[in-house]
């Protein structure tokens, strides 16, 4: 089993740099998800690993081999495409066997391997069908079957679930997770959906504008985003970001939001910015409305969105939209009367207003 290493990887189209010298090391067996908005370069990065895009600069290493000049077929990777890339004229069995046949695998072996994969993916009853006669989820499974059957060193997934409806997606997510556990193959997975990233990844790579913003486990990213971008991208709904002015003292700094004061965790970075504006980040989950702690903040409730066990309260804090996520169970009848929340200062993030970088959390 081998890992994948990207060093100073660059992709340029003419003068336009779409991947900007990124470094990334994917450990053997690891499931890494590249996530980011459209056009952030994540798919391009994946395609460079697959060998479908030429590498403009830097190196891709698979195992201990630099594969920049290695043909896709010799990189021993398998890829699952967004729109399945199934051959409409071949039935399921032939689709799965395609790669094997191209490699001139002996016939009886092909049959055995296809049967095995079909069994794993629950496709055995459909082996004789054409893709047109399959459901979306079945097609997606066939696409994965095509990848699995070759026993590659690395799996590459290019937004494989984005053509499915929500229910199927969560089902397939679980299936992919299970599959990875079973096969234990190094996987790199591209998606723009942070939920997929959070649920599937051993580690998440957040990309934006051709560069990596942060690499870490899902919880690391959730709890300790290094900048406003990651904070805004990970989590659903994303972290609330409010402009505030630092005041109080170095030891007990507070954020002045409108005319309300919010205690902040003390740090040198924060102390340096006394009197300056910052962005204060509060996760919707961390706003407490039922047992108000110290110095609650008043908000103006605009809308209650009930999701079942949870509810989203759309409020305004100093004229800025602010979302609070709360349990419904015990307090359902009082939700529409919420007018303030409190938050544990240690769960508050403070970001530089200009660079967006988190303050007071070096290395944390």
């Amino acid at each position: 089993m081998s890992g994948v290493k990207l060093s100073q990887l660059v992709k340029r189209y003419g003068d336009l740099e779409v991947v900007k010298a990124i470094d990334l090391e994917v450990q053997p067996h690891e499931f890494v998800v590249l996530v980011g908005p459209s056009g952030c370069g994540k798919s391009t990065t994946l395609r460079m690993i697959a060998g479908l895009e030429e590498i403009s600069g830097g190196e891709v290493t698979i195992g201990d081999r630099v594969v920049n000049r290695v043909a896709p077929k010799d990189r021993d990777v398998a890829m699952v495409f967004q729109n399945y890339a199934l051959y409409p004229h071949l039935n399921v069995a032939d689709n799965i066997a395609f790669g094997l046949r191209i490699r001139k695998t002996p016939k009886d072996q092909v049959q055995k391997m296809v049967a095995e994969v079909a069994e794993i993916l629950g496709l055995t009853p459909y082996l004789d069908r054409r893709p047109a006669d399959l459901s979306g989820g079945q097609r997606q499974r066939v696409a994965m079957g095509r990848a699995i059957v070759r026993h590659p060193l690395v799996f590459l997934f290019d937004e494989p679930l984005s053509n499915l409806d929500a229910k199927l997606r969560s089902q397939m997510r679980a299936e992919i997770k299970r599959l990875h556990k079973r096969l234990d193959v190094t996987s790199i997975y591209v998606t723009h959906d942070q939920v997929e990233a959070m649920t599937l990844a051993d580690r998440i790579v957040v990309m934006n504008d051709g560069a990596i913003e942060q690499v870490g486990t899902p919880m690391e990213l959730f709890l300790n985003p290094v900048n406003t971008f990651v904070a805004g991208f990970i989590g659903s709904p994303p972290m609330n970001q409010i402009r505030a002015e630092i005041s109080g003292s170095s030891n007990a700094p507070v954020a002045k939001i409108g005319d309300q004061l919010l205690p902040l965790p003390a740090s040198a970075d924060v102390a340096d910015r006394m009197g300056a504006d910052v962005t204060v980040g509060i996760r919707p989950e961390h706003a407490e409305v039922h047992s108000l702690g110290t110095s609650p903040l008043n908000v103006e409730l605009e809308l209650v969105e009930t999701l079942g066990s949870e509810a989203l309260l759309h409020t305004k804090l100093a004229d800025t939209p602010f979302i609070i996520k709360t349990e419904t169970e015990e307090h359902f009848s009082t939700l529409d009367q919420v007018s303030a929340f409190s938050v544990n200062p240690h769960q508050i993030k403070v970001f530089d207003i200009d660079t967006g970088r988190v303050l007071g959390q070096a290395g944390a």
Binding site: R47, A50, G51, L52, P72, K73, D74, V77, A78, M79, F81, Q82, N83, A85, Y87, P88, H89, L90, F98, G99, I102, R103, R146, R150
Partner: protein, 307 residues
Amino acid sequence: MQSESRLSKIGYHLRREWQIYVMLLPTIIWFIVFLYKPMYGLQIAFKDYSIFRGVDGSPWIGFEHFEFLFSNDQFIRAFWNTIIISGLNLLFGFPAPIILALLFNEILHATYKKTAQTIVYLPHFISSVIIAGIVITAFSPSVGIVNTVLGWFGIDSIYFLTKPEWFRPIFVGTGIWQEAGFGSIVFLAAIAGVNPSLYESAVVDGANRWQMMWKITIPSILPTILIMLIIRIGNVMEVSFELIILLYQPATYSTADVVNTFVYRQGIQSGQYDFAAAAGLFNAVVAFVLVMIANTLSKRYSRTSLW
């Protein structure tokens, strides 16, 4: 009772979707005016037609025109010539644009590709008269390029256009030269419609270009190929007769004379529209039967069909 409810259903449908039916109208009118109404005139195939008396005023004569056709050994010969020339056209002329399209698809250099395409499309836009002139010159025994080249190998010059055995190869070859490029457009369009990730997936799977062509491109455009083939079979009786008229000689009638040229000499030239209509009707019947057969076969074996 049931038909009434069905009528009211149609009425409701018409009221609701009338915009769509209005859009359909021009096509229907076109069909009525240019196809169905002229069908009324087909009856002159069974009449002693006079333009002055009109379709209705001309007397019925039954199958006399058809009897004349089938009792005429030149018509029989022309019929077989049509089948043979069409068969050769199908055999060599039909795959040519497909091959060309596949070749174009493999050219990566954009400018080179565009230039090459433009060059092969050009002959399509040249009038048959010019094409015939080019062919006559190219195969001329004294100055023709073909005989010049043959001369380099010590082969005596051949007066190709008067040799019955050479007519079909020259005609079919000319047809390919003239139409293969333009015909490749539809296949290029079909190829462009193939999902690019199929190729990427195949690249990752390790397929080379040749394998991708055979295992992806051709199967993917197969429905297009079959539809074009069925349409082509429907036109089997319609060999491009202007070009034949321009290229053939009495000396090559034995291989070159097709139903349309025969009809032209016998019918149109002496204003016998009734006779020409009979031959045209016969052509249409043959073509219709062929299309039915081809369509049924295609439907059965490849799920692709015209209807």
